[in-house]
Protein backbone atom coordinates (compact mmCIF):
# COMPACT_ATOMS: atom_id res chain seq x y z
CA UNK A 1 0.00 0.00 0.00
CA UNK A 2 1.25 3.47 -0.88
CA UNK A 3 2.83 5.14 2.13
CA UNK A 4 2.91 8.93 1.76
CA UNK A 5 5.52 9.24 4.54
CA UNK A 6 8.00 7.03 2.63
CA UNK A 7 7.49 8.81 -0.64
CA UNK A 8 8.05 12.18 0.92
CA UNK A 9 4.54 13.40 0.11
CA UNK A 10 2.78 15.69 2.55
CA UNK A 11 0.42 13.97 4.93
CA UNK A 12 -1.55 17.18 5.45
CA UNK A 13 -4.73 16.89 3.41
CA UNK A 14 -4.82 20.41 2.02
CA UNK A 15 -1.27 19.99 0.73
CA UNK A 16 -2.24 16.66 -0.81
CA UNK A 17 -5.15 18.30 -2.57
CA UNK A 18 -2.88 21.06 -3.84
CA UNK A 19 -0.52 18.42 -5.23
CA UNK A 20 -3.44 16.67 -6.92
CA UNK A 21 -4.42 19.99 -8.50
CA UNK A 22 -0.89 20.28 -9.81
CA UNK A 23 -1.29 16.88 -11.47
CA UNK A 24 0.62 14.64 -9.06
CA UNK A 25 -0.74 11.08 -9.55
CA UNK A 26 0.82 9.76 -6.34
CA UNK A 27 -0.96 12.39 -4.29
CA UNK A 28 -4.24 11.44 -5.90
CA UNK A 29 -3.56 7.78 -5.25
CA UNK A 30 -2.94 8.65 -1.62
CA UNK A 31 -6.33 10.36 -1.40
CA UNK A 32 -8.01 7.34 -2.97
CA UNK A 33 -6.40 5.01 -0.43
CA UNK A 34 -7.54 7.22 2.45
CA UNK A 35 -11.16 7.46 1.39
CA UNK A 36 -11.90 4.39 -0.71
CA UNK A 37 -13.35 2.17 1.99
CA UNK A 38 -15.69 4.78 3.34
CA UNK A 39 -16.80 5.79 -0.14
CA UNK A 40 -17.61 2.14 -0.84
CA UNK A 41 -19.44 1.78 2.50
CA UNK A 42 -21.62 4.81 1.79
CA UNK A 43 -22.42 3.58 -1.70
CA UNK A 44 -23.17 0.08 -0.43
CA UNK A 45 -25.42 1.41 2.33
CA UNK A 46 -27.60 2.95 -0.38
CA UNK A 47 -27.51 0.48 -3.23
CA UNK A 48 -27.04 -2.73 -1.26
CA UNK A 49 -24.95 -4.55 -3.87
CA UNK A 50 -21.24 -4.92 -4.48
CA UNK A 51 -20.89 -4.15 -8.16
CA UNK A 52 -23.04 -1.07 -7.88
CA UNK A 53 -21.08 0.16 -4.87
CA UNK A 54 -17.76 -0.54 -6.58
CA UNK A 55 -18.78 1.29 -9.74
CA UNK A 56 -20.10 4.25 -7.80
CA UNK A 57 -17.00 4.55 -5.61
CA UNK A 58 -14.71 4.41 -8.65
CA UNK A 59 -16.83 6.85 -10.60
CA UNK A 60 -16.82 9.27 -7.68
CA UNK A 61 -13.02 9.35 -7.58
CA UNK A 62 -12.83 9.84 -11.34
CA UNK A 63 -15.17 12.82 -11.04
CA UNK A 64 -13.17 14.19 -8.15
CA UNK A 65 -10.03 13.99 -10.27
CA UNK A 66 -11.73 15.75 -13.13
CA UNK A 67 -13.06 18.61 -11.06
CA UNK A 68 -10.42 18.93 -8.31
CA UNK A 69 -9.46 22.29 -9.78
CA UNK A 70 -12.81 23.72 -8.73
CA UNK A 71 -12.54 22.48 -5.13
CA UNK A 72 -12.10 25.61 -3.04
CA UNK A 73 -11.81 23.99 0.38
CA UNK A 74 -14.83 25.70 1.95
CA UNK A 75 -16.25 22.26 2.76
CA UNK A 76 -14.20 19.27 3.94
CA UNK A 77 -12.86 17.16 1.12
CA UNK A 78 -14.46 14.05 2.61
CA UNK A 79 -17.87 15.70 2.72
CA UNK A 80 -17.52 16.74 -0.92
CA UNK A 81 -16.54 13.22 -1.95
CA UNK A 82 -19.31 11.58 0.05
CA UNK A 83 -21.95 13.88 -1.41
CA UNK A 84 -20.84 12.85 -4.88
CA UNK A 85 -21.07 9.23 -3.77
CA UNK A 86 -24.56 9.80 -2.40
CA UNK A 87 -25.77 11.52 -5.57
CA UNK A 88 -24.37 8.75 -7.73
CA UNK A 89 -25.99 6.18 -5.43
CA UNK A 90 -29.38 7.82 -5.66
CA UNK A 91 -29.07 7.98 -9.46
CA UNK A 92 -28.14 4.31 -9.47
CA UNK A 93 -31.19 3.47 -7.36
CA UNK A 94 -33.46 5.44 -9.68
CA UNK A 95 -32.15 3.73 -12.78
CA UNK A 96 -32.33 0.30 -11.09
CA UNK A 97 -35.95 0.92 -10.18
CA UNK A 98 -36.74 2.01 -13.74
CA UNK A 99 -35.05 -1.10 -15.09
CA UNK A 100 -36.89 -3.32 -12.63
CA UNK A 101 -40.24 -1.80 -13.60
CA UNK A 102 -39.40 -2.28 -17.26
CA UNK A 103 -38.43 -5.93 -16.79
CA UNK A 104 -41.50 -6.57 -14.61
CA UNK A 105 -39.13 -7.75 -11.83
CA UNK A 106 -39.45 -11.44 -12.69
CA UNK A 107 -36.45 -13.71 -13.00
CA UNK A 108 -36.73 -16.03 -15.94
CA UNK A 109 -33.37 -17.77 -15.74
CA UNK A 110 -29.65 -17.21 -15.37
CA UNK A 111 -29.60 -14.35 -17.85
CA UNK A 112 -32.06 -12.41 -15.72
CA UNK A 113 -29.97 -12.60 -12.55
CA UNK A 114 -28.46 -9.35 -11.36
CA UNK A 115 -24.67 -9.33 -11.31
CA UNK A 116 -23.98 -8.12 -7.80
CA UNK A 117 -20.52 -9.50 -7.10
CA UNK A 118 -19.10 -10.78 -3.82
CA UNK A 119 -20.10 -9.75 -0.34
CA UNK A 120 -18.84 -12.48 1.90
CA UNK A 121 -21.13 -13.47 4.72
CA UNK A 122 -19.92 -14.56 8.11
CA UNK A 123 -20.49 -18.11 9.24
CA UNK A 124 -22.01 -16.57 12.36
CA UNK A 125 -25.79 -16.92 12.19
CA UNK A 126 -26.38 -13.59 13.92
CA UNK A 127 -24.41 -11.78 11.22
CA UNK A 128 -26.49 -13.49 8.54
CA UNK A 129 -29.70 -12.34 10.20
CA UNK A 130 -28.39 -8.83 10.71
CA UNK A 131 -27.40 -8.57 7.06
CA UNK A 132 -30.84 -9.81 6.11
CA UNK A 133 -32.55 -7.34 8.43
CA UNK A 134 -30.42 -4.42 7.20
CA UNK A 135 -31.24 -5.38 3.64
CA UNK A 136 -34.93 -4.95 4.44
CA UNK A 137 -34.68 -1.46 5.93
CA UNK A 138 -35.73 1.61 3.95
CA UNK A 139 -32.74 3.21 2.17
CA UNK A 140 -32.22 6.24 4.38
CA UNK A 141 -32.65 4.30 7.61
CA UNK A 142 -30.16 1.70 6.40
CA UNK A 143 -27.69 4.38 5.34
CA UNK A 144 -28.02 6.14 8.69
CA UNK A 145 -27.56 2.97 10.74
CA UNK A 146 -24.48 1.95 8.77
CA UNK A 147 -22.85 5.38 8.72
CA UNK A 148 -23.72 6.52 12.23
CA UNK A 149 -23.48 3.34 14.22
CA UNK A 150 -21.37 0.87 12.26
CA UNK A 151 -18.96 3.34 10.69
CA UNK A 152 -18.92 5.67 13.71
CA UNK A 153 -19.52 8.96 11.93
CA UNK A 154 -21.00 11.78 14.00
CA UNK A 155 -24.56 13.01 13.55
CA UNK A 156 -23.18 16.19 12.02
CA UNK A 157 -21.06 14.29 9.49
CA UNK A 158 -23.97 12.07 8.50
CA UNK A 159 -26.27 15.08 8.15
CA UNK A 160 -23.74 16.74 5.81
CA UNK A 161 -23.45 13.62 3.69
CA UNK A 162 -27.18 13.01 3.50
CA UNK A 163 -27.92 16.74 3.23
CA UNK A 164 -30.55 16.73 5.92
CA UNK A 165 -30.87 18.18 9.40
CA UNK A 166 -29.28 16.53 12.41
CA UNK A 167 -32.77 15.97 13.81
CA UNK A 168 -33.70 13.98 10.70
CA UNK A 169 -30.57 11.87 11.07
CA UNK A 170 -31.48 11.10 14.69
CA UNK A 171 -35.03 10.18 13.70
CA UNK A 172 -33.87 7.87 10.89
CA UNK A 173 -31.36 6.27 13.22
CA UNK A 174 -33.90 5.66 15.96
CA UNK A 175 -36.49 4.24 13.57
CA UNK A 176 -33.93 2.14 11.74
CA UNK A 177 -32.62 0.61 14.96
CA UNK A 178 -36.12 -0.10 16.28
CA UNK A 179 -37.08 -1.76 13.00
CA UNK A 180 -33.92 -3.85 13.17
CA UNK A 181 -34.87 -4.84 16.68
CA UNK A 182 -38.29 -6.05 15.54
CA UNK A 183 -36.75 -8.01 12.67
CA UNK A 184 -34.24 -9.63 15.02
CA UNK A 185 -36.97 -10.46 17.55
CA UNK A 186 -36.51 -14.21 17.06
CA UNK A 187 -33.07 -14.02 18.70
CA UNK A 188 -33.19 -15.14 22.31
CA UNK A 189 -33.14 -12.28 24.80
CA UNK A 190 -30.14 -13.64 26.63
CA UNK A 191 -28.16 -13.90 23.42
CA UNK A 192 -28.34 -10.12 22.76
Amino acid sequence: MHDPALSGHAVNESELIQQVKEGDPDAFRCLVEQYMKRAYTIAYSFVNDHHGAEEIAQDAFVRIHRSIGSFRGDAEFGTWLYRIVMNLSLNHLKSSRRKRNRDAGHLSGPAALVDTGPFPVEHDETAVHIERALHQLPTLQRATVILRHMDGLSTKQVSRILRCSEGTVKTHLYRGLMKLRRKLQYLKDEAL
Partner: protein, 265 residues
Protein backbone atom coordinates in the same frame (compact mmCIF):
# COMPACT_ATOMS: atom_id res chain seq x y z
CA UNK B 1 -46.62 12.53 22.58
CA UNK B 2 -44.50 15.26 21.08
CA UNK B 3 -42.20 15.10 24.07
CA UNK B 4 -41.71 11.35 23.60
CA UNK B 5 -40.85 11.79 19.93
CA UNK B 6 -38.41 14.53 20.87
CA UNK B 7 -36.81 12.54 23.69
CA UNK B 8 -36.48 9.39 21.60
CA UNK B 9 -34.24 11.19 19.13
CA UNK B 10 -31.69 11.57 21.89
CA UNK B 11 -31.87 8.03 23.28
CA UNK B 12 -29.05 6.80 21.05
CA UNK B 13 -26.73 9.60 22.11
CA UNK B 14 -27.70 9.02 25.72
CA UNK B 15 -26.84 5.35 25.31
CA UNK B 16 -23.46 6.22 23.83
CA UNK B 17 -22.83 8.85 26.53
CA UNK B 18 -22.54 11.54 23.89
CA UNK B 19 -24.99 13.98 25.47
CA UNK B 20 -23.70 16.97 27.40
CA UNK B 21 -24.16 16.65 31.16
CA UNK B 22 -27.22 18.92 31.41
CA UNK B 23 -29.12 17.02 28.73
CA UNK B 24 -27.96 13.73 30.15
CA UNK B 25 -29.41 14.63 33.50
CA UNK B 26 -32.71 15.69 31.89
CA UNK B 27 -32.90 12.38 30.03
CA UNK B 28 -32.16 10.41 33.19
CA UNK B 29 -35.04 12.12 34.97
CA UNK B 30 -37.37 11.55 32.04
CA UNK B 31 -36.52 7.85 31.89
CA UNK B 32 -37.29 7.45 35.59
CA UNK B 33 -40.87 8.50 34.97
CA UNK B 34 -41.46 7.16 31.46
CA UNK B 35 -41.63 3.36 31.07
CA UNK B 36 -42.15 3.70 27.29
CA UNK B 37 -38.89 5.55 26.72
CA UNK B 38 -37.13 3.26 29.19
CA UNK B 39 -38.32 0.26 27.17
CA UNK B 40 -37.16 1.95 23.94
CA UNK B 41 -33.76 2.57 25.50
CA UNK B 42 -33.46 -1.09 26.46
CA UNK B 43 -34.44 -2.13 22.92
CA UNK B 44 -31.78 0.19 21.48
CA UNK B 45 -29.20 -1.22 23.87
CA UNK B 46 -29.91 -4.77 22.76
CA UNK B 47 -29.94 -3.95 19.07
CA UNK B 48 -26.70 -1.98 19.13
CA UNK B 49 -25.10 -4.71 21.21
CA UNK B 50 -26.07 -7.30 18.57
CA UNK B 51 -24.70 -5.05 15.83
CA UNK B 52 -21.47 -4.55 17.74
CA UNK B 53 -20.96 -8.28 18.30
CA UNK B 54 -20.99 -9.07 14.62
CA UNK B 55 -19.62 -5.75 13.49
CA UNK B 56 -18.64 -5.96 9.90
CA UNK B 57 -18.71 -2.99 7.64
CA UNK B 58 -19.38 -3.72 3.98
CA UNK B 59 -15.85 -2.57 3.07
CA UNK B 60 -14.25 -4.83 5.70
CA UNK B 61 -15.94 -7.87 4.22
CA UNK B 62 -13.92 -7.62 1.04
CA UNK B 63 -10.42 -9.15 0.97
CA UNK B 64 -7.37 -6.94 1.32
CA UNK B 65 -6.26 -7.94 -2.17
CA UNK B 66 -9.34 -6.19 -3.51
CA UNK B 67 -8.43 -2.94 -1.73
CA UNK B 68 -4.82 -3.16 -2.87
CA UNK B 69 -6.07 -3.20 -6.46
CA UNK B 70 -8.76 -0.56 -6.04
CA UNK B 71 -6.50 2.50 -6.50
CA UNK B 72 -5.09 0.89 -9.67
CA UNK B 73 -8.58 0.54 -11.09
CA UNK B 74 -9.34 4.16 -10.30
CA UNK B 75 -6.08 5.33 -11.91
CA UNK B 76 -6.87 3.26 -15.01
CA UNK B 77 -10.32 4.83 -15.24
CA UNK B 78 -8.81 8.30 -14.81
CA UNK B 79 -6.22 7.67 -17.53
CA UNK B 80 -8.90 6.35 -19.85
CA UNK B 81 -10.83 9.56 -19.43
CA UNK B 82 -7.76 11.68 -20.06
CA UNK B 83 -6.39 9.81 -23.10
CA UNK B 84 -6.87 11.89 -26.27
CA UNK B 85 -8.67 10.30 -29.17
CA UNK B 86 -6.22 8.62 -31.58
CA UNK B 87 -5.15 11.03 -34.30
CA UNK B 88 -7.02 9.14 -36.99
CA UNK B 89 -7.29 12.20 -39.13
CA UNK B 90 -3.54 12.78 -39.08
CA UNK B 91 -2.93 9.18 -40.11
CA UNK B 92 -5.46 9.40 -42.91
CA UNK B 93 -4.00 12.69 -44.07
CA UNK B 94 -0.59 11.08 -44.35
CA UNK B 95 -1.73 7.79 -45.89
CA UNK B 96 -3.91 9.21 -48.66
CA UNK B 97 -1.16 11.16 -50.51
CA UNK B 98 1.16 8.14 -50.30
CA UNK B 99 -1.51 5.96 -51.92
CA UNK B 100 -2.25 8.50 -54.56
CA UNK B 101 1.36 8.98 -55.62
CA UNK B 102 2.80 5.53 -54.94
CA UNK B 103 0.07 3.13 -56.01
CA UNK B 104 2.32 0.33 -57.20
CA UNK B 105 4.38 0.41 -54.01
CA UNK B 106 1.22 0.46 -51.92
CA UNK B 107 -0.24 -2.56 -53.71
CA UNK B 108 3.05 -4.46 -53.38
CA UNK B 109 3.24 -3.67 -49.68
CA UNK B 110 -0.35 -4.79 -49.15
CA UNK B 111 0.40 -8.03 -50.98
CA UNK B 112 3.42 -8.76 -48.82
CA UNK B 113 1.36 -8.13 -45.67
CA UNK B 114 -1.42 -10.49 -46.81
CA UNK B 115 1.07 -13.26 -47.64
CA UNK B 116 2.78 -12.83 -44.25
CA UNK B 117 -0.57 -12.99 -42.46
CA UNK B 118 -1.60 -16.15 -44.29
CA UNK B 119 1.74 -17.73 -43.46
CA UNK B 120 1.30 -17.02 -39.78
CA UNK B 121 -2.28 -18.31 -39.68
CA UNK B 122 -1.78 -21.43 -41.79
CA UNK B 123 1.69 -22.54 -40.64
CA UNK B 124 1.32 -26.07 -39.11
CA UNK B 125 1.93 -26.23 -35.36
CA UNK B 126 3.53 -29.27 -33.74
CA UNK B 127 1.35 -30.69 -30.96
CA UNK B 128 2.96 -32.37 -28.02
CA UNK B 129 1.03 -34.94 -26.09
CA UNK B 130 1.05 -34.68 -22.31
CA UNK B 131 1.60 -30.98 -21.76
CA UNK B 132 3.76 -30.51 -18.71
CA UNK B 133 3.56 -27.90 -16.02
CA UNK B 134 4.42 -24.45 -17.27
CA UNK B 135 6.14 -22.12 -14.86
CA UNK B 136 3.83 -19.26 -14.03
CA UNK B 137 5.18 -15.70 -13.98
CA UNK B 138 4.95 -13.70 -10.76
CA UNK B 139 2.04 -11.51 -11.89
CA UNK B 140 -0.02 -14.57 -12.81
CA UNK B 141 0.83 -16.07 -9.39
CA UNK B 142 -0.63 -12.98 -7.70
CA UNK B 143 -3.78 -13.30 -9.81
CA UNK B 144 -4.11 -16.98 -8.80
CA UNK B 145 -3.79 -16.04 -5.14
CA UNK B 146 -6.58 -13.52 -5.58
CA UNK B 147 -8.70 -16.10 -7.38
CA UNK B 148 -8.09 -18.59 -4.56
CA UNK B 149 -9.13 -15.98 -2.02
CA UNK B 150 -12.34 -15.26 -3.90
CA UNK B 151 -12.98 -18.97 -4.32
CA UNK B 152 -12.66 -19.44 -0.55
CA UNK B 153 -15.14 -16.62 0.07
CA UNK B 154 -17.51 -18.12 -2.47
CA UNK B 155 -17.33 -21.55 -0.79
CA UNK B 156 -17.85 -20.14 2.70
CA UNK B 157 -20.88 -18.14 1.62
CA UNK B 158 -22.34 -21.07 -0.29
CA UNK B 159 -21.91 -23.31 2.71
CA UNK B 160 -23.62 -20.78 5.01
CA UNK B 161 -26.52 -20.50 2.59
CA UNK B 162 -26.90 -24.28 2.16
CA UNK B 163 -26.79 -24.80 5.93
CA UNK B 164 -29.36 -22.06 6.41
CA UNK B 165 -31.69 -23.57 3.81
CA UNK B 166 -31.29 -27.09 5.19
CA UNK B 167 -32.04 -25.98 8.76
CA UNK B 168 -34.81 -23.54 7.89
CA UNK B 169 -38.16 -24.18 9.47
CA UNK B 170 -40.69 -24.51 6.64
CA UNK B 171 -44.22 -24.49 8.10
CA UNK B 172 -46.73 -25.84 5.61
CA UNK B 173 -49.04 -23.35 4.00
CA UNK B 174 -47.28 -20.28 5.38
CA UNK B 175 -45.42 -17.76 3.23
CA UNK B 176 -41.65 -17.62 3.68
CA UNK B 177 -39.52 -14.52 3.55
CA UNK B 178 -36.65 -15.52 1.28
CA UNK B 179 -35.53 -12.04 0.26
CA UNK B 180 -32.10 -12.30 1.84
CA UNK B 181 -31.49 -15.86 0.59
CA UNK B 182 -32.47 -14.86 -2.93
CA UNK B 183 -30.24 -11.79 -2.80
CA UNK B 184 -27.30 -13.90 -1.63
CA UNK B 185 -28.02 -16.56 -4.27
CA UNK B 186 -27.89 -13.99 -7.05
CA UNK B 187 -24.59 -12.67 -5.78
CA UNK B 188 -23.18 -16.19 -5.59
CA UNK B 189 -24.29 -17.05 -9.13
CA UNK B 190 -22.53 -13.91 -10.41
CA UNK B 191 -19.44 -14.73 -8.41
CA UNK B 192 -19.49 -18.30 -9.70
CA UNK B 193 -19.58 -17.02 -13.28
CA UNK B 194 -16.62 -14.77 -12.58
CA UNK B 195 -14.66 -17.67 -11.02
CA UNK B 196 -15.37 -19.97 -13.96
CA UNK B 197 -13.71 -17.43 -16.24
CA UNK B 198 -10.54 -17.61 -14.16
CA UNK B 199 -7.93 -20.39 -14.07
CA UNK B 200 -9.58 -22.85 -11.72
CA UNK B 201 -9.36 -26.63 -11.67
CA UNK B 202 -11.99 -28.91 -13.17
CA UNK B 203 -13.36 -30.07 -9.84
CA UNK B 204 -14.01 -26.51 -8.69
CA UNK B 205 -15.68 -25.67 -11.99
CA UNK B 206 -17.93 -28.73 -11.67
CA UNK B 207 -18.81 -27.81 -8.09
CA UNK B 208 -19.76 -24.30 -9.18
CA UNK B 209 -22.02 -25.81 -11.87
CA UNK B 210 -23.67 -28.09 -9.27
CA UNK B 211 -24.17 -25.18 -6.89
CA UNK B 212 -25.58 -23.05 -9.69
CA UNK B 213 -28.54 -25.39 -10.07
CA UNK B 214 -29.50 -24.84 -6.43
CA UNK B 215 -28.68 -21.14 -6.36
CA UNK B 216 -30.68 -20.35 -9.47
CA UNK B 217 -33.52 -22.40 -8.01
CA UNK B 218 -33.45 -20.34 -4.82
CA UNK B 219 -33.25 -17.06 -6.73
CA UNK B 220 -36.30 -18.00 -8.80
CA UNK B 221 -38.56 -19.26 -6.02
CA UNK B 222 -41.99 -17.77 -6.61
CA UNK B 223 -43.57 -16.11 -3.56
CA UNK B 224 -46.76 -18.18 -3.68
CA UNK B 225 -45.05 -21.56 -4.09
CA UNK B 226 -42.07 -21.16 -1.84
CA UNK B 227 -43.04 -23.90 0.60
CA UNK B 228 -43.04 -26.59 -2.13
CA UNK B 229 -40.05 -25.22 -3.96
CA UNK B 230 -37.91 -24.84 -0.85
CA UNK B 231 -38.52 -28.51 -0.04
CA UNK B 232 -37.52 -29.47 -3.58
CA UNK B 233 -34.35 -27.40 -3.20
CA UNK B 234 -33.53 -29.03 0.12
CA UNK B 235 -33.96 -32.46 -1.50
CA UNK B 236 -31.61 -31.33 -4.24
CA UNK B 237 -28.96 -30.24 -1.71
CA UNK B 238 -29.18 -33.60 0.00
CA UNK B 239 -29.29 -35.70 -3.18
CA UNK B 240 -26.25 -33.96 -4.69
CA UNK B 241 -24.43 -34.17 -1.36
CA UNK B 242 -23.53 -30.55 -1.88
CA UNK B 243 -22.48 -29.72 1.67
CA UNK B 244 -19.96 -32.55 1.64
CA UNK B 245 -18.61 -31.43 -1.73
CA UNK B 246 -18.26 -27.83 -0.55
CA UNK B 247 -16.42 -28.89 2.60
CA UNK B 248 -14.11 -31.08 0.54
CA UNK B 249 -13.42 -28.19 -1.83
CA UNK B 250 -12.67 -25.90 1.14
CA UNK B 251 -10.14 -28.39 2.48
CA UNK B 252 -8.55 -28.68 -0.96
CA UNK B 253 -8.40 -24.95 -1.55
CA UNK B 254 -6.34 -24.45 1.60
CA UNK B 255 -3.41 -25.76 -0.39
CA UNK B 256 -3.38 -23.70 -3.58
CA UNK B 257 -0.71 -24.61 -6.07
CA UNK B 258 0.41 -23.65 -9.52
CA UNK B 259 -2.33 -24.52 -11.93
CA UNK B 260 -0.84 -26.76 -14.56
CA UNK B 261 -1.68 -26.10 -18.15
CA UNK B 262 -2.93 -29.65 -18.50
CA UNK B 263 -5.54 -29.02 -15.79
CA UNK B 264 -6.72 -25.82 -17.36
CA UNK B 265 -10.25 -26.07 -18.83
Amino acid sequence: MKRHAHMRRYLYEYLREELPEGERQAMREHLRSCPQCAASLEALRRTTSALDQSRQLPADSLPEAYWREFPDRVMTAVRRQERPAPPVRALVDRAVPFWLFHRRETVALAGVLVIALCAVLLWPRSEQPGVTNVPVPATAQITMEQTNERMNHYLRRSKALLVGLTNMRVPAGQPLDLDAEQHISRELVSEGRYLKRQQIDLQSARLISDLDKILIGVANVAPDRNFTEVNIIRDGISRENLLFKVRKAEARSERPGIVSVSEKR
